[in-house]
Amino acid sequence: MDDELMDLKFPAEADDQLNRLLAKWALQVQLSLQEEEELYDRIFVIADDLGYDWWRQLGEGFSFQTLNVFPAFVFRNI
C-alpha cells in the first residue's frame, strides 16, 4: 500500500491549494448552527404530531385500503 500511496502524492503547493479550496467549499455546504437547531426542533414537531412511522408509511405509498384504519362511514357514500 505504501507504494500505491507514493503514486498518489503530488506537489506540496498543489496539496495546500487543494486543502484551501476544500476548506472554503466545506464552509459553504455545512449546515449553520441555526439550520441545525431548526432541523432538531422540526424532528419533535413531527414526532409529537402523528408519529414518524405514520408519516413514513404514508410517504412510502403504504396502502391503507388493506387496513381497517378508517371508520366505515368514510366509505359509505362511495
Binding site: 498543489a14 479550496l21 476548506a23 472554503k24 467549499w25 459553504q28 449546515l31 424532528i43 414518524y52
Partner: protein
Amino acid sequence: MRKDLFHDLYVTYSRQVYSYLLGRTGGSKDVGADLLQDVFMRIWNRMEALERIPEDQRIYWIFSVASNRVKDYYRKSSNQRHAEEQLRDRNKGGGGPTEDLSQLLSGRERYRELESAIGALPEELRCILLMKVVGGMNSSRIGEALEMPAGTVRYKISQARALLAGRLGLSETKLAATERSNSNG
C-alpha cells in the same frame, strides 16, 4: 432523560452524519439536510433499541441507519445512476488541466468546478472525503462509522484527493493520468 441522550447524540453526530449523507447523495445541501432530519427521526423512534447498544458501538449503528435511509432515497427518488449522469454532464464543461493555477482560488466558477469534480468522484471516495472535510472526522472515526480499517480510510482519502487534484488541473498524478487514459479508450 431519553430526550437528553437524543440531544447529546444529535450534537455529537449530526454534522458527521450530514457529511456522510452529502457524500453518498452527491453533495446537495438540501437533500443532505432532508435526509439528516429523517435519519434522526428514525433514531428518535428507535431510542429504546439504541439505549441497549454499548456506547462505543453506537456510531456504527447510527451510520447504519443513515445508510438505510440513503438506500430508501435512491429507491424512491430518481435513481442513483441518473443522478450520477447529471453530475458527469455538469462536469463536462469544467476547466481542464491546462488552466492557469494563479486563478485557482478565485471566483464562484472555481467552486462549481470543485463541486462537479467532487460529484464525479466514485461514491465511496466522495463519501469518505466529505466525512473528513465537511464532517471534520479523522480516519479512525470514519473507520469506526463505516467498519473499515483506518489505514484503508487514509488510502481512500488520498485516492479521492489525487483524483480531485487531477480533475482540477492541480497536478498530474499517476492515478489521474491512468484514469484519463482509460477514459480515452
